[in-house]
């Protein structure tokens, strides 16, 4: 039965057409449909991505000349990197994939009608918006933000910037993240369709499952830490303030107890996306399904035990530093398992180099570079040399931008036909990817070199001998931004004007490809047929 016949047969409207209790914009911002909430997250997180990108663009402009191309006053640069970090970390990359694609696709992929707590889901989005507004409103408080996204004590306790408001915003955002985690875990425990066993679940839901546990268990530690900064500033209690007997290093410990696991909140869902795209475009069952599932859980567990590798130069005892260094090396094992499995999936596959596949392959390359340089940083002696240099910045962007964001962009190309029923222009998608990939490497690889040469991060001005590299990196940022503009213009135009895409343009075998595009409000017009095993391409081609 074709999509239109099925729709006529059941008289079901797609989630985009269905009119709920409210019409217009209210029908979106008060909708409890997981798909509409997914789109809300998509629009809002991408909005903040563009805000963060613009801030990054300005940072790179400043770096064009040693004495500052834009400002002679370092305060503005401090504000830029603080905002770039806060916006990109808390408002974009943490909520982006679970909030948008997770909300939209996880229930469909496990054969459910919605998440377990639809109203709580809507509340999560509202908390996200409120947290964003509070955090950004802090800009208009007492002074320019200058703490960096890490809000390290004791500086955050005495700066003129409106830190209490900013950390309260982060607290609210954390709450939103916790509620999403609770919702997803419960959904996967309780809402899987009959016949959808745990080990028949596709790998994106599995990745979200691991992520959700980290969200539920690690985020509250950040919550309490932010709350303590808030209380210290407002009521002048002395928990982290050395003037009152407090220990600022404990702030760093508590902060990284969340914020290191948080990088797994960023990367695990992205790895799930890669595990969806690689089999579809290699037309082959994923290699080592079980190993990927367990490595996700392993990353979630081990990732919670490595936080102090952010603190190797803080005067940590040698014994502690050695243990944290060792654990850091261990966490590379499950990540590497995934990389080997994806690569092995390609072997003897029938590879279609569609745009999403290019992103997936770029992910493997960029994430490997990011991961291996992470091992360099995890080594104690090298860390002392590279600490707080551009090397760290490059490593982080290779993992989080080259990893998480590339997977996110790739998955947008992969699932856009499903979400909106329309296909984008493929040539534009290839051009956008090529610019993005080239610009990205020019920008961030140069930063590795700058870091090894000794360029410290967060400096508004620098020695003239770094200038050539800085210029190369800045030019890279222009190419990259041009690529991003092409990519998103193409995607946005296609949402409204793209050619109609069929139900299953890529020949995918997970459940979302069994239903019409865009999906009907109830997701499944008839109970889904659960495949014998996840990614059963042989079964799919046989029938």
């Amino acid at each position: 039965m074709t999509t239109s016949e099925a729709l006529e047969h059941h008289g079901a409207l797609s989630y985009l057409e269905e009119r709920g209790r409210y019409g217009g914009i209210l029908g979106w911002i008060f909708s409890t449909d997981h798909k509409r909430i997914g789109i809300l997250y998509l629009v809002s997180t991408l909005f903040f991505f563009f805000v963060g990108m613009s801030l990054g663009f300005l940072m790179r402009l400043q770096m064009l000349s040693p004495h500052g191309e834009l400002f002679k006053n370092a305060d503005y640069y401090n504000a830029l990197f603080t905002l770039h970090g806060v916006v990109m970390v808390f408002l974009f990359i943490i909520p982006a994939i679970p909030g948008s694609l997770g909300n939209f696709f996880m229930p469909i992929m496990i054969g459910a009608k919605d998440v377990a707590f639809p109203r709580l889901n809507l509340l999560s989005w509202w908390l996200y918006v409120m947290g964003a507004v509070i955090a950004l409103a802090s800009l208009f408080g007492s002074g320019l933000p200058d703490t960096g996204w890490t809000f390290y004590a004791p500086y955050s306790l005495r700066t003129h910037a409106d830190v209490p408001m900013a950390v309260f915003g982060v607290f609210v955002l954390g709450f939103s993240s916790i509620l999403t985690g609770i919702n997803f875990i419960t959904t996967m425990h309780r809402m899987r369709a009959p016949g959808m066993g745990w080990f028949k679940m596709p790998l994106f839901p599995w990745a979200l499952y691991a992520t959700s546990w980290v969200q539920v268990l690690a985020t509250p530690v950040l919550g309490i830490t932010m709350l303590l900064i808030f209380v210290e500033r407002i009521f002048h209690v002395g928990i982290f303030n050395p003037a009152m007997g407090g220990d600022p290093l404990l702030y760093q410990h508590l902060f990284w107890m969340y914020s290191h696991p948080a990088v797994y909140i960023m990367i695990l869902p992205a790895m799930g996306l890669i595990s969806e795209m690689i089999p579809t475009f290699a037309h082959r069952t994923i290699f080592g399904y079980g190993a990927i599932v367990w490595s996700s859980m392993g990353i979630a567990l081990l990732g919670s035990l490595v936080w102090a590798h952010h603190m190797f130069t803080s005067g940590l005892s040698d014994a502690a530093a050695t243990v944290f260094s060792l654990l850091t090396f261990l966490v590379a094992v499950p990540s590497a398992i995934k990389v080997f499995n994806w690569t092995a999936t390609l072997y003897k596959g029938s590879i279609a180099l569609e745009p999403p596949m290019l992103y997936a392959l770029s992910f493997i390359f960029l994430f490997s570079v990011g991961g291996l340089t992470g091992l360099i940083l995890g080594a104690l002696a090298l860390n002392v040399m590279l600490h707080d240099t551009y090397f760290v910045v490059a490593h982080f962007h290779y993992v989080i931008f080259g990893g998480a964001a590339f997977a996110f962009f790739g998955a947008l190309h992969y699932w856009l036909p499903k979400m909106f029923g329309r296909m984008y222009n493929r040539s534009a998608a290839y051009i956008g990817w090529a610019l993005l990939f080239t610009g990205f490497n020019l920008l961030y690889f140069t930063m590795f070199v700058l870091g090894v040469m000794g360029m410290p991060r967060r400096y508004a001005f620098y020695l003239p001998r770094f200038q050539t590299s800085h210029v190369i990196a800045t030019v890279g940022s222009w190419i990259m931004i041009a690529g991003i503009l092409v990519v998103f213009t193409n995607l946005i135009v296609s949402v409204f004007k793209g050619e109609k895409a069929g139900e299953n343009p890529w020949g995918g075998v997970t459940l979302e490809w069994q239903i019409p595009s865009p999906p009907p409000t109830e997701n499944f017009l008839e109970p889904p047929t659960i495949p014998e095993k996840a990614y059963d391409f042989e079964g799919a081609f046989a029938s």
Partner: protein, 211 residues
Amino acid sequence: MSDVAAEAGRAEHAHAEHGDYEGAKLGMWLFLFSECMLFGGLFVLYAMYRADHPRAFSAGGSHMDALLGVANTLVLLTGSFAVASSITALQRGRRRLAMGLVGTTILTGVAFMIVKAVEWSGHIRQGYFPHSQLLQGKPGEQLFFSLYYVMTGLHGLHVIAGIAVLTAALILMARRKVTQEHFVFLENAALYWHLVDIIWIFLLPLFYLAA
């Protein structure tokens, strides 16, 4: 899959979506885990600072009224007992008794907060608060009292939240939305109250019995 099995599967599936008892409880437990981690951060800080300043923490504890602390513990435990009994009462169809028991728990919560307020104002009047004259030059005791106010304060906020949730349960019982068959709201409210209770059981020895 045969039609019968498919039908049964669908029915079960539909059941899981509408008023899923297990799901609601699972969600609550997950939330409680995250609450434990929230307080966990504070317990870590307490452990570190107490290891750094064992004498000062002992001195700080000597300013606490252990009797009031123990009395408040008994008040909370009574409330926990009442709310636990109210679920059993509701399950057996004794709605009025159940409502009375929830009301008792709310009253114990209010009583707890009153005792807490008396204690706090007493400490502040005596000059035991962060940045006070009395604690100048005593970093260990500053930390003790900072943690005391933060931890019991956050706990107090949870007591207030618990009272609000139990009041909501009471209203829902009065309106017959929470009933003998659908009692998961009351059960989750009670779970939350037990969490508040358990955290206090840890706070009692850490502060009141620290001397």
